[in-house]
Amino acid sequence: MSYHIAVCAGIVPDPLQTLEPVSGPQGPALKNEMMLPAVLDPWAAHALYEASHLAKNVPGSKVYLVSLAPKAKLQQVLMTMAQKVAFELVALDGPSSGFTESADVASALAAAIEAIPGLDRSQLLLFGGWESAARAAGTTLAMVGERLGITEQFQGVDALKVGADGSLEILERVEGGKHQVSVCAGAPAVLGWATGSLPEPPNSPQTGMQNMRTVMPALQKAKPAQVGAHAFLSVSLPKQQRTTRIVKDVPAAEVAREIAAWIRGS
């Protein structure tokens, strides 16, 4: 038993950047979008770490990183990510904007996965983030799974345990901070990861060198993806400015009394 794990992961602006929407020829975009530092989508990155962990524990398994992004930006992001875990890159050249159509992205990703040479669809685990930090809709991965004919799908996954019989025990986030426990008979399955439980792996120059042998050719071969957007009526930043009362030069005991009264609702 071994798995072919395809991890769908886009790139997003570094969360520390200030974002401002602008109108572009293809619809809404971010101001200076191509200049903003980018990172691999955080939840998808967790999916990649979990995929690597699973592949290490199940001999013969292989991890594919499938990404649709402007390839120059993707190359920058992979300079760091390629040092973290081993993978084979499948790259598509196209916009990574959150305003693009998720059905178009799903179509392109599914076609790219189907075209992976030697992919065993019966042992395919399709990983990704349960939502991105861009569109944040949580819809793309499920549509990719449907296009690949996978009807066992899980979203908000925090843990995966493989049984001796190849069954998959999965914990999914549900309402009230709880987890639903399900047991799937085995691959193929779709797992949209939340944070999982693994820390970010340390950088390994050796892994980076190994990955870059396949990353650069994959980026050069990246096919352009046709991704559109629907009709936006308005795109804006939330306008919410509060009048902040500053309390300073007041003893800590007095501050505590005021906060205690506020907590008690008196």
Binding site: A103, A137, H179, S182, L233, V235
Partner: protein, 328 residues
């Protein structure tokens, strides 16, 4: 106007959650014919409660009583086909959020989630994790919409005779649902029902006035407030990342506590941030906190100014020592 199908999953007693009633009200606000689609649970009981909202279709059976992609998707697909709806609405529960994108794919439609407002001219949702808001419309049908709680007021109507049409669906899932588990301790994750969200920032782990870090005492003070005030515990990303890297930093914090751009955006009436310094990514976690106060040492903190209602410029260790004593 297109026919609107509202998908709901009643519980075993036939009760519909408030978010489901809000979806019904939102559908009626659009003006088309409204059809209710029930999956699992006690359809007969639910039909008596919401039958006044429109024609009711239901997929019943043991296999459909559990939240599972294969069965929920098959049921929703059958209901969409039976209703011939152009618009399909559902509350953004974990159950519908898991399966409806796949159903939209099967039906050749489009889907939008996290809808916060809906009107005949378009729908509104957030992008970039609550940092940009957009209103838009679509021509493609069927159009699936997952509504956030609070997008409409709850539908109210008189009970009726509970008539409904049963839709037969075959499903052979390969997944067995074993149940639901909760994290062991109350402070292990954000508690949705809590009145107060207490957010611990990275400042708790930094060197204090005496030149030393007091992580152990910080942990005692934070947990003290969380327990005495019955608060939900949130954390900034930096603090969670430190614990994820295996450092001995507030070990009770996990990614489940993380609020903000890459964490959750919880909804509580009150929020108290302590030792938090940051800009937009942090504010994202507070988008739905109504009454916000902060304690930190920087009067010009970019996060607190203009975002919090009250900023106490004080030493959080000293304030929380006293607050623990007052709330005990």
């Amino acid at each position: 106007m297109e026919t609107i199908l509202v998908l709901l999953h009643p519980d075993a007693e036939g009760a519909i959650a408030k978010a489901g009633l809000e979806a019904i009200a939102a559908a009626h606000g659009l003006g088309g014919e409204v059809i209710i689609g029930l999956v699992g649970g006690n359809a007969a009981g639910a039909a008596k409660v919401i039958g006044g909202a429109g024609r009711v279709l239901a997929v019943e059976g043991d296999a459909f009583s559990q939240s599972r992609y294969a069965t929920d998707a098959a049921a929703a697909q059958a209901l969409v086909a039976a209703s011939k709806a152009g618009i399909v609405m559902a509350p953004a529960t974990s159950r519908w959020s898991r399966c409806l994108a796949g159903v939209a794919q099967r039906c050749g439609g489009r889907i939008d989630s996290h809808i916060t407002a809906i009107a005949p001219e378009g729908v509104t949702r957030w992008y970039y994790r609550q940092r940009i808001e957009a209103t838009f419309t679509r021509a493609e049908l069927p159009w699936f919409l997952l509504l956030e709680s609070g997008a409409a007021s709850a539908w109210q109507g008189a009970p009726c005779d509970g008539t409904f049409e049963r839709i037969a669906v075959e499903a052979a899932p390969r997944t067995e649902v074993k149940g639901v588990v909760s994290p062991g301790a109350g402070e292990q994750t954000v508690k949705p029902e809590a009145e107060l969200l207490f957010v611990a920032g990275a400042g708790w782990t930094k060197k204090q006035k005496d030149g030393a870090a007091h992580v152990e005492r910080a942990g005692e003070l934070i947990l003290g407030i969380v327990r005495t005030a019955g608060a939900s515990l949130g954390s900034s990303k930096s603090l969670v990342d430190l614990s994820g890297e295996g450092q001995a930093v507030l070990p009770f914090l996990s990614h489940l506590n993380q609020v903000g751009q890459t964490g959750s955006t919880p909804r509580h009436p009150k929020g108290l941030a302590t030792c938090c310094h940051g800009e937009e990514p942090h504010v994202v976690g507070w988008r739905f906190i109504q009454d916000r106060r902060a304690v930190n040492l920087d009067a010009n903190c970019g996060w607190a100014r203009g975002k919090a209602d009250v900023l106490y410029v004080a030493d959080a260790f000293e304030v929380m020592e006293e607050l623990n004593r007052l709330l005990a």
